[in-house]
């Protein structure tokens, strides 16, 4: 079977051309670099370069994940404000992956609201519960419950479930 040309010639140039950096990605990289470099100096700039490379090399949430992993190193034992600003700075990276460019405004608003609620719940769990595993478990269960609830709603809304079964 013939190999496609774009796969056989996989170079840095072709990858960068394929994953075009959107303004949303650029804003995300800029905000994150600014937030990290203000608190950590040159190491923050280095982390920003790493995130920029990740954003340029992929069109998914890879840059967001890389940003979060680098943030773990820089914001250990940080306060709410520092953590909040880092997460706020990382949001455009997530929005770039979720909404593309130009973004659908309604979707962007829903994502922002969901992101804010999710961070709020996570922070509340983290500060309220005694152990990290408890917070992680409760967060995972909550996410699973919401997803399952939406799934059941979809089944009923599309008429896949008869009324008696739906009432059970």
């Amino acid at each position: 079977m013939e190999t496609p040309v774009n796969q056989s010639e996989r170079t840095i140039r072709t990858v960068l051309d394929a994953n075009e950096l959107t303004p949303m990605d650029a804003a995300g990289v800029l905000c994150f670099t600014l937030a990290v470099s203000l608190t950590n100096g040159l190491w923050g700039v280095a982390a920003g370069v790493l995130v920029l490379a990740a954003a340029a090399a992929s069109d998914g949430p890879f840059a967001f994940v890389v940003a979060q992993l680098t943030a773990v190193s820089f914001f250990a034992d940080a306060g709410l404000v520092a953590l909040g600003s880092a997460q706020l700075a990382a949001f455009p990276l997530l929005a770039g992956a979720a909404c593309g460019w130009p973004p659908d405004r309604a979707l962007l608003v829903r994502l922002a609201a969901g992101y804010a609620v999710a961070l709020g719940v996570a922070w509340a769990l983290w500060t309220t519960l005694r152990w990290a595993w408890q917070a992680a478990l409760v967060a995972a269960v909550l996410a699973a419950l919401v997803a399952y609830g939406l799934h059941r709603y979809e089944r009923v809304a599309l008429g896949f479930v008869d009324a008696p079964e739906a009432n059970r």
């Binding site: 979060q68 953590l83 961070l119 922070w123 769990l125 996410a143 939406l150 979809e154 008429g159």
Partner: protein, 479 residues
């Protein structure tokens, strides 16, 4: 709603970050995991909205052309789908083919809506290998969420049906001059009484007659015991000559001239079997005898001929044309030649060469397989026999001469003719050809009547009942 691999990958990353947060005892990975979870939930809400919109706005219809086919035929099935409002997500509407049809691969029976499109249609060719009423009553719409995290399949009801008929003649007409023949072919009387089915006479009861012979109705009427006697059937050779040349392949699939001829031949074999008559069979192709069997009256013989009849196909090579002009028997030609005598008129001088060589006329058909087959069938037995020729009217000279030979050498000759005019493609075309059809049928009927004028010959037409009724009506109207 089914999650895709993309969803699984992202959920996996979120789980990893959650575990990472527990291992490091740091909140940042947990916040990241919750951020990703928020994205998945928002995408799920968006997908539910898209799926509801498609479920509400999508309509589909299926049409089949033609709606009636024979087994093994193909029909064009068209799926048309439309969305009353465009959706910003890929939607694929697939024609769900019933299991009894041979449908093309999924891509060739699917309408794919790119985001923003509202209508689409696709036509595919579907083969129907099984007889029955095939229903296309469902189409499936595959909807994918905008983010590509979830898919769902919704079904829509449609109503398209196709009648797939078995490859066998339906409504067969066997008759003489348009009149149906009500009796069973192959029955024959012997003028002797004994076990049988045909009533012969009633007479008064005599000592020695069995109780089962008593005719109770006559007994009640006459107030005295009467018995009914039946004709016993005789040992009567049935010589079956079936024409299976390429010209018998006219007509639609499963309803060719040969299919109708086959039904008649099968009926004759059944009749012979029920009477215990010996039977011989000869199947004639375009160029030579294809198969011959018998005479035999064993149960295997009937079965062998029946199996062979069911499996015969028209031969491939076209028949060598024989002049289809109105034939004159050699004997008639010689008689007319004698009538001319010593007439020296210009008319007689011109005509005489045409009537002189009577033998060469017969030689035109003497090497034809159908003629040969009839001749050899007639010479097989010196006992009472019934020669049955099943053919069409495409080679009138050859058929006529074969029947002339049969009429002289057999006790009884039956000719079953399928009129080519009913099976020609041109005849099916349109009502515009009605006059032509009527003329064709009249010509056929003249030929059949001509055959019947020969001694000991009965000629029947074998045709689709509907076509026969139509032709009879048209012929009557034309008159």
């Amino acid at each position: 709603m089914l999650p895709t691999r993309r969803w699984a990958a992202l959920a996996g990353v979120a789980c990893f970050l959650t575990v990472y947060a527990v291992v490091l005892d740091e909140p940042t990975p947990l916040l990241a995991a919750c951020g990703l979870a928020a994205w998945l939930v928002v995408a799920q809400v968006d997908a539910v909205g898209t799926m509801r919109a498609v479920d509400r706005d999508l309509s589909a219809s299926v049409s089949i052309e033609p709606t009636s086919v024979f087994v093994g035929d193909r029909a064009a099935v068209t799926l048309t789908a439309s969305l009353s409002e465009a959706v910003d997500a890929p939607v694929e509407v697939e024609l769900v083919a019933p299991p009894s049809v041979n449908a093309p691969e999924r891509a060739r029976r699917t309408v794919a809506f790119d985001p923003g499109e509202t209508t689409g249609s696709v036509t595919c060719s579907i083969e129907f290998p099984v007889a029955g009423r095939i229903a296309f009553d469902e189409v499936a719409a595959d909807i994918e969420g905008r983010a590509g995290f979830f898919t769902e399949t919704v079904t829509l009801d449609v109503d398209a049906r196709c009648l797939v008929e078995p490859p066998a003649p339906d409504g067969i007409h066997v008759g003489r001059g348009g009149e149906l023949v009500g009796t069973t072919f192959g029955d024959h009387s012997s003028d002797q009484t004994g076990p049988g089915l045909v009533p012969h006479e009633t007479r008064q009861y005599l000592p020695g007659d069995t109780l089962s012979q008593i005719d109770w109705k006559t007994t009640a009427r006459m107030n005295h015991p009467y018995i009914r006697e039946f004709e016993s059937e005789s040992d009567y050779l049935l010589s079956l000559v079936v024409d299976c040349g390429s010209h018998m392949n006219r007509g639609p699939t499963g309803r060719t001239m040969l299919s109708y001829a086959r039904e008649v031949a099968l009926g004759l074999v059944d009749a012979a079997e029920s009477h215990g008559d010996p039977v011989s069979a000869q199947f004639v192709g375009d160029a030579a005898m294809e198969w011959e069997f018998g005479p035999s009256s064993s149960s295997n013989a009937y079965q062998t001929i029946r199996r062979r009849l069911l499996s015969i196909e028209p031969t491939a090579s076209p028949r060598r044309p024989v002049d289809a002009s109105r034939p004159v028997a050699p004997e008639d030609a010689r008689k007319r030649s004698r009538l001319l005598g010593d007439d020296d008129s210009a008319f007689a001088t011109t005509l005489r060469p045409y009537l002189r060589d009577g033998e060469s006329y017969v030689s035109r058909v003497s090497d034809r397989p159908l003629f040969d087959a009839v001749k050899s069938a007639c010479s097989r037995s010196d006992r009472e026999d019934h020669l049955v020729l099943v053919t069409d009217d495409s080679a009138k000279v050859e058929t006529y001469e074969a029947v002339v030979v049969a009429s002289k050498r057999s006790s009884q000759t039956s000719v079953f003719l399928t009129p080519t005019t009913f099976f020609d493609d041109a005849a099916d075309a349109a009502d515009a050809g009605a006059a032509g059809d009527a003329a064709g049928f009249v010509a056929f009927e003249e030929f059949r009547a001509r055959l019947e004028r020969l001694p000991n010959v009965t000629a029947y037409e074998v045709a689709p009942k509907s076509a026969m009724e139509l032709a009879t009506t048209r012929a009557t109207t034309a008159e």
